[in-house]
Structure formats: structure tokens, C-alpha cells
Symmetry: C2
């Protein structure tokens, strides 16, 4: 069934007017007619069954029928990702949504190429992926920030899994075993890796857990998906 993220509050008997783009998607692309059912979520009120109540020239109105899932609190996992080329960055944001990240922080490092990212477009990709993957919230995409500034302002209660291509770190699964599951982030560097001064600062920070992702060189998108997977499997909501 079609799932849509909306901003409106969701409550029994309420009516929601989807955005023009969403109306076009529902009526023009998916060919929904009056009376058709779909699912809505807003990140606060759980998932709701809704029905197309009115169809007009300029859009449609949805009537809320019943809550089908209550809002859940997923693990508090963030992805901090050095900017990479647009196509791979878009893939990474899509995958972060599928893999249950709450937030994606775009990071500028010394070896990062470029300093710009289209945050609005990445947010739209995150929303669409959240709709398709069945989650009840949408990951927030934060604009690019220098690594030094990110670490200067780091919440010391949030553990950081530093995926270190440098070599001597423990395997990620072993590094995560037995750790508390509250508030984590995964940090993935740029193609070309971190600069030695950046690695030194990261490895010295008390909140950092360095980890290795195997003996082969991974592209940034592969490394991000692998690290998020291992976190979810070892500490997150993939556990039995």
C-alpha cells in the first residue's frame, strides 16, 4: 500500500491536504480514485490508514480512518559522512534511511572534494526512502560541517564508531560487542581516507571507537552501509 510522509497532525476523523507534488503522485502517477486507501505518517503520531475523500482539480483531501501502528522510538543512530560525489551521496542517504538512521550529518574533511550539498534534495530522497522502507519517521539531513567543528561540538555521551582504513583497528563487530546501545554515530571518511592529523584527533577522543571493515578497500557507500548494518545487527533493532 502507498505510504506518504506528511507534516500535518494525525488523529481520528482528521483531514489532510497533501502537497501539490503528493497529490500529483497519488492521482496522476498512482491513479488513486476517491475511496482508495493509503498510509500516512508524520514522525510523531504513528502510522494511519487514510482514504481519498475528495478529488478536485487542484489536488485531493485525505480522511484519517484509524491508527495502524503507534509511534515507535527507533535506536538513536546517526551517520556522519564525508561529502562524496552526488550520485554516491544520494545512494548513501537512501541507504541511511533504509538502515534506520535518525540523522545524517554531512562532513567536510581535509581530503573532501567540494563543500556543497543540496540538502533539500537529499531530504527529499530520505523522505521517499522512509516511505518505502516502512519506517515511522524521516532521517534529518544536516548541512555540511567541518570535521573539527563537528568534534568541537560533539555530545560526549554519544559514542562514535570511526571506520578507520588505517589498518590496526579491531573488526567492527568485535569493537561493538557488549557495548551499550544508547546514542551512537558512525563516521565514514572521504575517498582517500582521513588525513593523519584527523586520524590522530579521532583516535584520541574518549568517545571514539575505531573499527575496521575488513581487508579490502571499500567505497564510501559500501563502507557506510556495512557499518550501519553491523551496528543494527549487533546493538540495534536487527537483534532478535
Amino acid at each position: 500500500m502507498i505510504r506518504l510522509h506528511v507534516d500535518a497532525d494525525l488523529a481520528t476523523g482528521g483531514r489532510v491536504a497533501p502537497s501539490p507534488d503528493q497529490s500529483h503522485y497519488l492521482l496522476g502517477v498512482m491513479r488513486l480514485a476517491q475511496g482508495a486507501d493509503l498510509l500516512l505518517f508524520n514522525g510523531r503520531d504513528g502510522e494511519w490508514r487514510a482514504r481519498v475523500a475528495e478529488v478536485g482539480k487542484r489536488g485531493c483531501v485525505l480522511e484519517l480512518k484509524a491508527q495502524v501502528r503507534p509511534q515507535a522510538t527507533p535506536p538513536d543512530l546517526e551517520l556522519c559522512i564525508a561529502l562524496v560525489k552526488r550520485a554516491r551521496l544520494e545512494t548513501i542517504v537512501e541507504k541511511a534511511a533504509e538502515l534506520g538512521c535518525r540523522r545524517v550529518r554531512l562532513v567536510l574533511t581535509r581530503r573532501t572534494q567540494g563543500d556543497h550539498a543540496n540538502v533539500a534534495r537529499l531530504s527529499a530522497i530520505a523522505t521517499e526512502a522512509a516511505e518505502q522502507t516502512g519506517r515511522l519517521d524521516v532521517p534529518e539531513i544536516l548541512p555540511p560541517l567541518r570535521l573539527d567543528a563537528l568534534l568541537d561540538g560533539w555530545d560526549p555521551g554519544r559514542a562514535l564508531l570511526f571506520c578507520d582504513e588505517g589498518g590496526e583497528a579491531r573488526p567492527a563487530l568485535e569493537a561493538l560487542a557488549g557495548r551499550a546501545a544508547e546514542r551512537w554515530a558512525v563516521l565514514i571518511g572521504p575517498e582517500g581516507g582521513f588525513d593523519p592529523a584527523e586520524r590522530d584527533r579521532l583516535r584520541a577522543a574518549p568517545f571514539v571507537t575505531p573499527a575496521s571493515l575488513g581487508p579490502r578497500i571499500l567505497r564510501a557507500d559500501t563502507a557506510a552501509i556495512a557499518a550501519l548494518t553491523l551496528w543494527q545487527a549487533q546493538l540495534g533493532d536487527w537483534r532478535g
Copy 2:
């Protein structure tokens, strides 16, 4: 340093003529000149340092200098992947190479859309990914085969991790824990999942280990990367 996969045997003092495409890449794209060093591998003789010995109008000749890594035997892991749309299939093949698969088997299921794949192009993608990821072999890409035929001819000594969206399977990491690491394959279904009869046959096969990849719906590329990652971390060469 540039790494190239070649077919030729590699031995001290040997000379290798790269293919016209490879010569163009080395001379035209990467601008190597006579005397430049690069690395070669062929899947049999380890990794070799070579030098551009001659540059001519129609290509170049490489002279082998020394073996820098002996051939290794990586884990015997296969990916069996239902055909998906071209772009995602190409991503999956690239990732299978980065994640150390020996073979990728393309599978036709009842809900698979299309029955054709460009195996030559996928093999070229696997070769390029193998060159970049630093492995010493290239994954073999096998042409599409019906799931029933794949299972009819299955080597009963090869365990099959069946990534089952059906719901009741154990988490993949738990399902893999304590298992022997010899000869495995990972099976990823099409968008839309396996048909009930296919699921029944898979779940009844003695060599099949069903496994869950968490509570969200994953696209095929995400599921493939996640399952291969968990296998490598739990049983493969990502272990400490």
C-alpha cells in the same frame, strides 16, 4: 598505485601486453609514461609490481619486476541475486566484488521482471571493482538461471543464507553464529519478494539457513550488501 587485472601468467622477468582498452587507460587516461610502476594480478599468481617498459603507437608493454603479495585463498562465498533493474544490478555486482564474493549467480524467480542481463558488462564492472578494492581475483558472473534449476543443481555441501522477508526467520547474525565457514552462498530475492511456493521450497531444503535483515523493507542492493557484510564479519575475512 594503479592495479590492473590481466589474463597473462605473471613471473619474474615476464612481459605483458595489456589489452587495447587497458593501454588506452594507462597511457591516455592515467598518462603513465615509460618507467612508471603499476600493479598486476591475474587471479592465480598473486600481485606483481610491473613497469611500463615500452610505449608505442598501438599500446604498451609492461615488464614484471617482483611479486608483492602471494595469491591468497579468500572465503568461498557466492551471491545469488534475483535480476533487478540494470543500475541496481550493476551496483550489486560492484559491491559483491568489494565484499569478497567469488561468484555472482543471476537468478530468475517467479516475480523477477525481465530475463536478460548483460553478463559481459557486469563482468567488466566486477573486474574494475576488483582492481580498485585490492583483491587478487575477480568474481565470476554467471548467466541468469531459474531458481528451480539453481536449486535442482545445488551442491549440498554449500550452505545457503536465504534472506527471507517473510518475517519469522532468526536475525542473520544469530543464524550465522557458530556455523562452519566453508562454502556459503547468500540468496537475495527480487523487489516484491519470493512467491509462497518458492519460499516453501527454500525453507524445506536441508542446506538453507533462513535469516532476517531487520524490521524495515530493504531494496535488493541494500539487502545484498548487508547480508554479505554480516557473513564476512561473522564467518569470513573481516574477523580479527
